[in-house]
Structure formats: C-alpha cells, structure tokens
C-alpha cells in the first residue's frame, strides 16, 4: 500500500512518472550479452565474437564437456601402457562401452528436463536385457511360447515391458503426487529383486556367437560390423540428408525475412558433422585385430546410438511433446495455465526413460555377452545421471539436450575405459564414479549460479 500513502496528497504523480520514465536509460542494455549468438550474428566473424562473449559470461554450452573429453583422452593416452588408449581397437571398445551410458542418459535426460529423477533405470535396463535375452534363447521346454522369438520381436517385447514399468512408476508419481526420487528408489530395489529371481530361475543368461541367428543378432549389436562400403555409403547419405535439411531451413528463414544464421555458419556446421563422421567411420574401419583374422567395420551399436540421439533431438526440439517437456521443466505452473497436460507429460517422460533403459539393457547384454546377478544397476543409473549432467543437462529441470547425453556418456565411457586399461581394481572405479558425479553436479550448480548472477542485471 506504499503507493497509496505516498501520493494521496498529490494529483501530479502520474505526470512525474512520465518524466522519470523518459529520463530512464535503454531497458534492453542489461540483458544483451547472454543472447545466443545465432540470433544476432550476421557474419561468421560476428558469430564467433558473440559466442566468445557468451562463453566469457558463463554460458559455455557444450564447451566444458568437449574440453573434459579431450583432457581425459590425452591423460589416459599418456598413462596407459604402450599408449593403447587412442588405438582404433580401444576406441571402438570405448564406443561400445559408452553406448549403454549414452542410451541410459538419453532417457534420464527427458526426466531431468522436468526437474525429476529416475533412479530405477539401471535395473529396469537389466529387466529389458533379460527379457530380450531370454526370448531369443533357442531351447524349447518348458514353455515354447517364451523361447525362439525373432530378435526384433524380442527387442520390441523388452522395450514394451520396460515402457509398462515406466508407466506404472510414472502413474504412481503423478497420480499419488509422490517424489520421483523415492518412487524410483523403491523401483530400483524392486526390480533388482525381480532381476535376481528371474536370473536365478534361468541360471544366468548368456548370448554369444552361436548357431541361433536370433541370439547372434542380439550379441551382434556390439560385435557385428557394417561392411566397409556400407558404412561409408551410410555416412554420405546421413551427411547429405542432415546438410540439406539444415541448409533448406536456413535459406527458407532468410527468404521469409526471419533472422537466420549466416550462410557461412550453416556450411561450417555441415562441414563439422561431415568431418566428425569421417573420423568416426575411419577409426572403425581400421583393422583392429591383434591376431590373424581381420576385425574391421563400424559396430551396429554406433548407428543405433546415433539414430537414438537424432530421434531424441527431433522429439525434444521439433515436436509439441518436446516443447511441453521444456515448458513443464521451466515453469510447471505457466505450462499448466497454458493448457499443457502436465500430468501426462510427466508420465510419458517416465515411460520414455524406462523404454530407452530397456534398449540400453539389451545393448549391455550384448556388450557383456549376457547378464548375471552381479549386474550393478545402481551404478549404471548414477553413470547415466552423471553423463547427462556432465553433458550440460541441469538437475533442476528445463535445460538439456540429447547431444548432452552423447557427449556426457562418451566422457563417462572414456573414464571408465581408461581406469579399466590401467587395471585398477573395482573399488577405484567406485571412487572415480563418485568423484565424477560430484564434479558433474558442481559444474551444474556453478553454471546455474553464473546464470542467476547474470539475470540480476534485469530490472
């Protein structure tokens, strides 16, 4: 009521306000620096200057995780015996290993975008891997229906089972309004128990290079390779498709008078994708055998992971569902008032995270040639959270991209693989996991703090 008391004796107050307003400085000056460079740059040089200003202002995008990846790679290359770390054989291993973290982090990322967390996906992944692994097993009795499935049918069934698990957990969280942390922690223990029961009855589970085509296909996700010519062809097709769509979008925007990045930037981005793809395919197409038979080619898991990252990017950034995920994560009340179905968005996020975890579990079964009761789903989920957060996804919701899961998962995989190369026992891996998670959360907190201090300048 201060305004009432202050002016009750003076009818001239509005005019005074006008005078003050006209004397006030430009309102936009405060907020200018933090605007993404794509929006204001008219040329490549301007873009990089704007980008550099933004990094200096504390909003570095994926720069920290890329830097971390380089540091980790250089460090382990120096300390590993015979500098084996950056050999093509180990790099392909590293991709295989990271794949599980990346896929888990993709699903976890959607939940994190909402400001929630899903701690169950480690053991949900185990359930997915077990379902697919068991369904393709050739032995007939006691129940014919649950064996000898085609590999694709087994994968679909596993993903559907996991999606159902996610639907149950998501419904409990949203309908009973319980914290996702607690519900999914309960889920973690519950599915751990279920995993042990199933594996106990089945006497463990293994997939390998057997005569059964379906078992071989599951195993082959990590250990079957694209033909060399096919991988190059696929690369060309993918780069052309992505490049054409980026180019068409930017020229379309320019033609209809909307702000678009300079053409040079579009070209540079396409060129970057092409070069990264060439390096990746070239590494995989080196002969990495140490024995007699050559081992050459891109493992199927690489296109699988890239397709999932691409799909998640499309879902999050180009669909209404994705837009609503960001909105709910940024301001659930605003989203609700704008007519967004907040409850269904949150439920679907848990379904998605569980379903992608199912795929991650299948990849894990392939990578390890099976699964035992030693599978550590608790550690996997922490790696997944760490991967997403290291990549740049915020634990507080509203900020994160699919590419963060890719870069963060690679970083986690690179550390994990490096420790393995050094022959460190398992206890040191746990310590490293803890430190990495702590570092990731600290980076997230620091990024948020600098973002907040930036917005203090707002009037």
């Amino acid at each position: 009521m201060a305004g009432v008391g202050g002016v009750s004796g003076s009818g001239k107050a509005p005019e005074d306000l006008v005078a003050q307003a006209e004397a006030a400085p430009d309102l936009t000056a405060a907020a200018v620096e933090v605007i993404p460079p794509d929006l204001v740059a008219q040329s490549l040089g301007q873009y990089f200057r704007a980008w550099f200003a933004r990094v200096k202002a504390g909003d570095a995008g994926v720069l920290p995780v890329v830097a971390a990846l380089v540091v980790v790679a250089v460090f382990f290359e120096i300390v590993t015996a015979n500098n084996v770390y950056l050999s093509s054989g180990n790099l392909v291993d590293l991709f295989d290993q990271s794949a599980v973290f990346i896929i888990l982090a993709l699903g976890e990322g959607v939940v994190l975008l909402l400001g929630e967390i899903d701690l169950s996906i480690g053991y949900v992944a185990a359930i997915g891997g077990i379902v697919a692994g068991l369904l393709v097993q050739p032995q007939a009795p006691p129940n014919d229906f649950l064996h000898n499935w085609p590999w694709w049918g087994a994968i679909i069934a596993a993903i559907l089972v996991c999606a159902a698990i996610g639907a149950i957990q998501g419904t409990i969280i949203t309908r009973l309004r319980l914290p996702s942390f607690v519900v999914t922690l309960a889920g973690q223990m519950f599915w751990f128990g279920v995993m042990i029961i199933i594996l106990g009855q089945a006497g463990g589970l293994s997939v390998g290079n057997t005569i059964s085509e379906n078992v071989r296909s599951i195993y082959g996700i990590d250990y079957a390779y694209l033909d060399v010519w096919l991988s190059w062809l696929a690369l060309v097709v993918v780069v052309v498709l992505i490049g054409a769509s980026m180019w068409r979008r930017d020229t379309g925007r320019r033609r209809s008078g909307l702000v678009a990045p300079p053409p040079g930037l579009t070209v540079a981005k396409i060129a970057f994708i092409a070069v990264a793809g060439i390096i990746l395919v070239a590494i995989c197409n080196f002969d990495r055998s140490q024995g007699t038979l050559p081992i050459i080619g891109v493992p199927w898991v690489v296109p699988l992971v890239l397709a999932m990252v691409g799909g998640a990017t499309l879902l999050l950034e180009r669909t209404q569902f994705g837009r609503h995920v960001y909105a709910v994560g940024g301001n659930p009340e605003a989203a609700r008032r704008a007519g967004v179905g907040v409850t269904s968005i949150r439920t679907w996020a848990f379904i998605l995270s569980a379903a992608t975890a199912g795929m991650a579990g299948i990849v894990a079964v392939s990578f390890q040639g099976g699964i035992t009761t030693n599978f550590n789903g608790g550690q996997e989920v922490l790696y997944a959270v760490a991967a997403a957060v290291i990549g740049g996804t915020s634990l507080m919701g509203g900020r994160g991209r699919a590419i963060h899961a890719l870069l963060g998962g690679l970083t986690i995989g690179a550390i994990y693989n490096g420790l393995f190369q050094l022959g460190l026992p398992i206890q040191y891996q746990y310590i490293a996991t803890g430190l990495v998670l702590l570092a990731a959360v600290s980076v997230d907190a620091l990024a948020r703090r600098s973002a907040t201090s930036g917005s203090v300048a707002r009037v």
């Binding site: 305004g3 002016v7 003050q20 379309g252 209809s256 909307l258 209404q320 960001y326 008032r337 704008a338």
Partner: protein, 284 residues
C-alpha cells in the same frame, strides 16, 4: 446464497445497479456483465452477490485490500472457480464459465504476474505455449515466429533484441509485455491483468501502462487488478472496488479521488462527496 444482500451496502455507493452505469458509459451492452455472483469455499463466503461490468474498449480497474476477493473474482471469470450463484452475461447473453477452456473459448485471457512464462523458453515458444502450430507432426517454427513478431509489432513492443531470446534474458517490463502479447494473440476480447506493474521499476511500469492503453485502443475490454492507485488512476476508465467480498463501489474513474478510493478499499464506504457522476469534488 447471499445474492440479494448487495443492494444497500455502506453509504455512498456510486453505482449499485449495472444497467444505468453501462448505458451512461458506452450506450451499449458491456462485453461481460456479472450479476449477483457469489462464491463460497467451505465456511468462507468469498463473494457476496457481486455485480461487475467490463465494457469493451475500456480499462476497468479492480481494486481492493488483501482478502477483498479480487483473485477469487478474477478466477471466477477465468473459469478456475465457477461461481455458486449469480449470472454471467457475455455480450448480453447468459453463459456458463465452468473451466479455463470455457473462458478461453469466449475470448477471455488472464495474465498472471510471474506465472505466465517459462524462463527457459524463448519469446515465440512462450507465446505459442500450449497452442503450437504444427506442420507434418513437427513444430512450424517459421509460421509461429512471424505471427509472434506481428503481434509484438502491433503492440509496439520493440525493445526486445530478438524474439528468439530466452525469456530469462528479458527485463521485468519486457516479460510483462510478452505475457500480455501472448494473451492478446488469440483474438481475445477481454484481457485480465493481475498486478501487472508489481515489482516493476518506473520505466518498466510506464512501458506496461502504455501497453494497457494500447489494448484498450484495439477495442479490447481490459481488467486490471491492482493495489497501486497511481497506475489505477492513470490507465483506468472505470474503477470497481471490492471490500470483504462485496462490490462497494463501481463507477467511472473520474468519480473517485485517491482518498475516496482508499476509503472504499479499507472501510467499504466513503463519507466524501465524490460519488456524483461528473462532479468530482475531490480536494485537488
């Protein structure tokens, strides 16, 4: 329901009935008329037979002390709390507003302070939130961006650097402007603003008040809920004052002065002789 208890509240009520008031103001039927709206939450009677007219092309300020029922009344119009009794007339026809969807389909939009925007989304994304334009399953960003730019230009909101910048990078006034633009984008006929200038600096307040005047010039009915009598007297054509759930005063703004408005807000009545329309006897 206490639907008849309003006709004779504390002395000096400027406009007890809606009809003559509406006629003197615009000569036509108000866009929205509330007749005897009451609302009860359990044991608490929040609104007692409230009458309110919101004519098109005019700014109506809804004032009242804390707990007077401003928010409940706003939410009643917005469909969040459907009334227990009374009648709502839209363009002269009786309507039922039972959900936010009902009010939105009539063309009623509410701008809530700080609740309207998601910080992490950009201006276009916020303006189209919940009503995204799609093309082949995917978001049609270009179409949305053009429409958002047109709306902002129509409201003379020109201070933003890029309509693709996240709302977090905007100043308070700019955020409010985006929230208003979001509300008027949908061919709305009535825009209700909840404390639009609270927590804004002087220059920012000016920007928002200008925006409110522009809405009025576009022919919209505007209702501003505000504590700030500076703002109220600057933009309002009409003032309606709630006190403990009753509409104690409702008239053109010139029928009030600051002291009488404060009297109505704090005591529900005024002994000052300013009520007679057209003869403002304020001490200034």
């Amino acid at each position: 329901m206490a639907m008849t208890g309003i006709e004779g509240p504390a002395g000096g009520v400027p406009a007890p009935g809606g009809q003559p008031l509406a006629n003197t103001l615009s000569g036509t039927v108000p866009l929205l008329e509330l007749r005897g709206i009451s609302k009860r939450f359990g044991a608490v009677q929040a609104l007692y037979g409230v009458d309110l007219d919101l004519p098109a092309g005019q700014v109506t300020a809804l004032c009242g002390d804390n707990g007077a029922g401003k928010s409940v009344l706003t939410k009643t119009i917005a469909g969040i709390h459907p009334p227990d009794g009374g009648q709502i007339l839209w363009e002269g026809r009786p309507v039922h507003i039972r959900s936010p969807k009902d009010s939105a389909s009539l063309g009623i939009e509410t701008v809530y302070q700080d609740l309207a925007l998601a910080d992490n989304l950009d201006i276009v994304q916020n303006m189209f939130l919940g009503r995204e334009r799609l093309r082949n399953m995917f978001l049609n960003e270009d179409s949305m961006e053009r429409a958002a730019a047109e709306t902002l230009a129509g409201l003379h909101v020109t201070t933003v650097r890029s309509i693709r910048q996240p709302v977090a990078t905007l100043s308070g006034g700019q955020r409010q402007a985006v929230a208003v633009a979001k509300a008027v984008m949908w061919n709305s006929k009535l825009v209700m603003l909840d404390e639009p200038t609270a927590a804004l600096g002087v220059a920012q307040t000016r920007m928002v008040l200008d925006l409110i005047k522009r809405l009025k010039d576009h022919g919209l009915a505007v209702m501003v809920i505000s504590h700030n009598l500076n703002d109220v007297f600057e933009v309002a054509d009409r003032i309606a004052i709630l006190h403990l759930g009753r509409m104690v005063a409702q008239d053109r703004a010139s029928a009030f002065d600051r002291q009488s408005a404060v009297d109505y807000m704090t005591t529900g009545g005024s002994t000052r002789e300013v009520a007679a329309a057209g003869s403002n006897q304020g001490r200034n």
